[in-house]
């Protein structure tokens, strides 16, 4: 009886979200799926639908020249960037967590990206070239890298170097989340470990990392989704242009967006699996 009442409270607390989910996610999703099965025309009298089945989906894979190409690039970028961003964020958060002089000043500076990195400001900065490192010559890096890696990989890594500012900038939110959780780790744990003779390195692997593991997962997911939905993303732009193109239209764009969502879900699933596996290993 008591359990029942408690679960009632659970439903009560999440009910606002549940209602919102039904209205603003499930219903539009259904409609969007319906759209993707049709050829849509926007006419002065309203929307015109012509049922085409799964042809739109086939067209995305078979007839669009850019989609597969962009998708491969995107997946490669994601695989490289997400870990880099998360690791950078963790390192920076740990640096900020150290007792240093001018800690407040450093934190103020380091949280700046949270303020600026979302929105069109970053677009402006990118287009004005404020985010590339002027000191680093990309050609040199690529020529060094090609000695070790195949060309396609070398190019991606080279871009990674070139966009190091952007990458650091994208890690603002993650730094904050990490920092908040680092502060929450009980200091007594470290003291106990120190007394037992553990080095800082060991403390990091045995105490810090396991305590913040759920947060690492959150940061991975956040980074992935942020990159996937950012306006810098070429696939998003591709979907956008298709939406308003005369020959393709919204039905085709919906199908493309759906395929894109499936790919993202697969990537997320991989992240979750990686984290779960580690958990069983530890136990």
């Amino acid at each position: 009886m008591k359990i029942n009442r408690k679960s009632m409270y659970g439903y009560l607390f999440i009910s606002p979200w549940l209602v919102g989910f039904l209205i603003f996610v499930v219903w539009p999703l259904g409609q969007s799926f319906y759209f993707s099965l049709n050829n849509m025309r926007i006419t002065p009298t309203g929307l015109q639908f012509r049922y085409v089945g799964f042809n739109n989906y086939l067209d995305v894979w078979l007839k669009d020249m850019f989609f597969i190409q962009e998708l491969l690039q995107f997946v490669l970028h994601i695989l490289l960037r997400v870990p880099v961003i998360v690791v950078f964020a963790l390192i920076i958060a740990m640096l900020l967590n150290e007792k240093v002089r001018f800690q407040g000043v450093f934190r103020t500076i380091f949280f700046l990206p949270v303020i600026v990195a979302s929105g069109p400001v970053i677009d402006q900065l990118v287009s004005q070239g404020a985010t590339t490192v002027p000191m680093v010559d990309q050609g040199v890096i690529i020529s060094v890298l090609t000695a070790f890696f195949p060309m396609w990989l070398a190019q991606v890594i080279g871009q990674l170097f070139n966009q190091i500012i952007i990458i650091l900038w994208y890690s603002g939110v993650q730094i904050l989340i990490f920092l908040a959780v680092l502060q929450k780790i009980d200091a007594a744990l470290y003291e106990a470990a120190k007394i037992d003779g553990a080095s800082g390195w060991e403390c990091f692997w045995k105490i810090t990392l396991p305590s913040i593991k759920p947060i690492i997962l959150i940061n991975f997911v956040y980074t992935l989704v942020f990159l996937a939905n950012s306006s810098q993303n070429t696939i998003i732009n591709l979907i956008y242009t298709n939406m308003f193109s005369a020959t393709r239209g919204y039905g085709f764009a919906s199908a493309m967006a759906w395929m894109y969502a499936v790919i993202i879900s697969i990537l997320l699933l991989i992240i979750f699996l990686v984290f779960r596996e580690k958990e069983t290993k530890r136990a």
């Binding site: 409609q31 920076i92 947060i215």
Partner: protein, 333 residues
């Protein structure tokens, strides 16, 4: 023999009571303590590394803002003159006065503030409630709902764009603040999932025994929420508020969709920034040889104006913000 304190150490070095071998041994030990630290004292090497890293990364964060600021202060001659790189030759504020008039600051600032504050309040409150529900209770389909919540975050907004827009115009929400308030109040605002997750984590980490003790003392679930959970989660509230504010402020995708499609007075600074070039050309028509052509400096001035309020808010809030990050450490104990 133990390593002596610094003052005694110098005395020992000067005195003749020790052999040379002893002296080198002590010096070595002293040096290694200085460089690598011992116990809780950090060594010199580690300190230098930490500060160097902090300074370098700090520069990376400041660089684009400095660049933006300095470009915005440069006149056309300075921009074209390749010898002027960082320090403008004169104090030039024309870019700002132009950008100010182009962006229609008075109205757009009000609009931006409205759009950033009101939905944020709804969003934060609802996110804390939902996060508490997920963290505290077990119920059927909880995992499913949780997965669905994460799913709603990863769906590309482009899938939902057109159906949502039709829904909103059927409900007559477009063109007003309601287009943002209603989703936020139903837990579907901007990045709501992240906020729910943050609150979920915070409430999860609150010791469950606290709630149990309160229940034994006869508190009902709402008392638990208001008297235990919320006071424990003050840092989460501050973080969520700042984030939500910033994200709503910087939002252009939805504001374009819901506000510009209908003619009305509600506009935001970032919408003005988006139409910056067009508005500029309308206000200062380009004629032959006119000095009015838009340039980087003016664009950067506009961009700088658009983030200036955020910087100011951040400048005042950051103390609480940074402190709140600190305070979480206390709450965790």
């Amino acid at each position: 023999m133990a390593v002596p304190k610094t003052r005694e150490f110098y005395k020992l070095l000067r005195s003749d009571t020790m052999t040379r071998k002893e002296k080198t041994r002590i010096t070595k030990a002293k040096l290694s303590r200085f460089l690598f630290g011992f116990n809780d004292r950090r060594g010199f090497v580690l300190k230098v590394t930490i500060y160097t890293l902090l300074l370098c990364i700090g520069f990376v964060y400041l660089y684009p803002i400095l660049y933006m600021f300095i470009t915005s202060m440069q006149s056309l001659e300075d921009l074209l003159n390749s010898s002027v790189n960082w320090i403008p030759s004169t104090l030039y504020t024309d870019n700002y006065s132009k950008a100010y008039s182009v962006m229609n600051i008075k109205d757009s600032l009000m609009g931006s503030l409205l759009i950033a504050t009101v939905p944020t309040i709804f969003q934060v409150i609802v996110a804390s409630i939902v996060g508490f529900g997920f963290a505290r209770y077990n119920f059927r389909f909880k995992k499913l709902f949780f997965a669905l919540m994460i799913f709603s975050f990863i769906v590309p907004p482009q899938i939902l764009m057109m159906p949502t827009y039709r829904l909103f115009s059927n409900l007559e929400l477009t063109g007003s603040l309601n287009a943002f308030i209603v989703p936020a109040a139903l837990g579907q605002g901007l990045n709501s999932t992240i906020f729910i997750l943050i609150f979920y984590q915070f409430f999860k980490q609150t010791p469950q025994s606290l709630y149990e003790a309160a229940e034994v003392d006869g508190a009902n679930q709402f008392t638990c929420f208001f008297r235990i959970a919320i006071p424990m989660a003050v840092p989460a509230f501050i973080i969520a508020f700042l984030f939500s504010f910033v994200w709503y402020w910087n939002e252009t995708y939805l504001t374009t969709l819901y506000l510009t499609s209908r003619s009305n007075e509600l506009t935001t600074i970032l919408l003005q920034l988006q139409q910056f070039e067009r508005t500029y050309e309308a206000m200062y028509p380009v004629t032959e040889n006119s000095p009015n052509r838009i340039n980087e400096g003016i664009k950067m001035a506009g961009t700088f104006i658009s983030i200036l309020p955020l910087l100011i808010v951040y400048f005042f809030l950051q103390r609480y913000f940074v402190e709140s990050v600190d305070r979480t450490g206390i709450a965790g104990e």
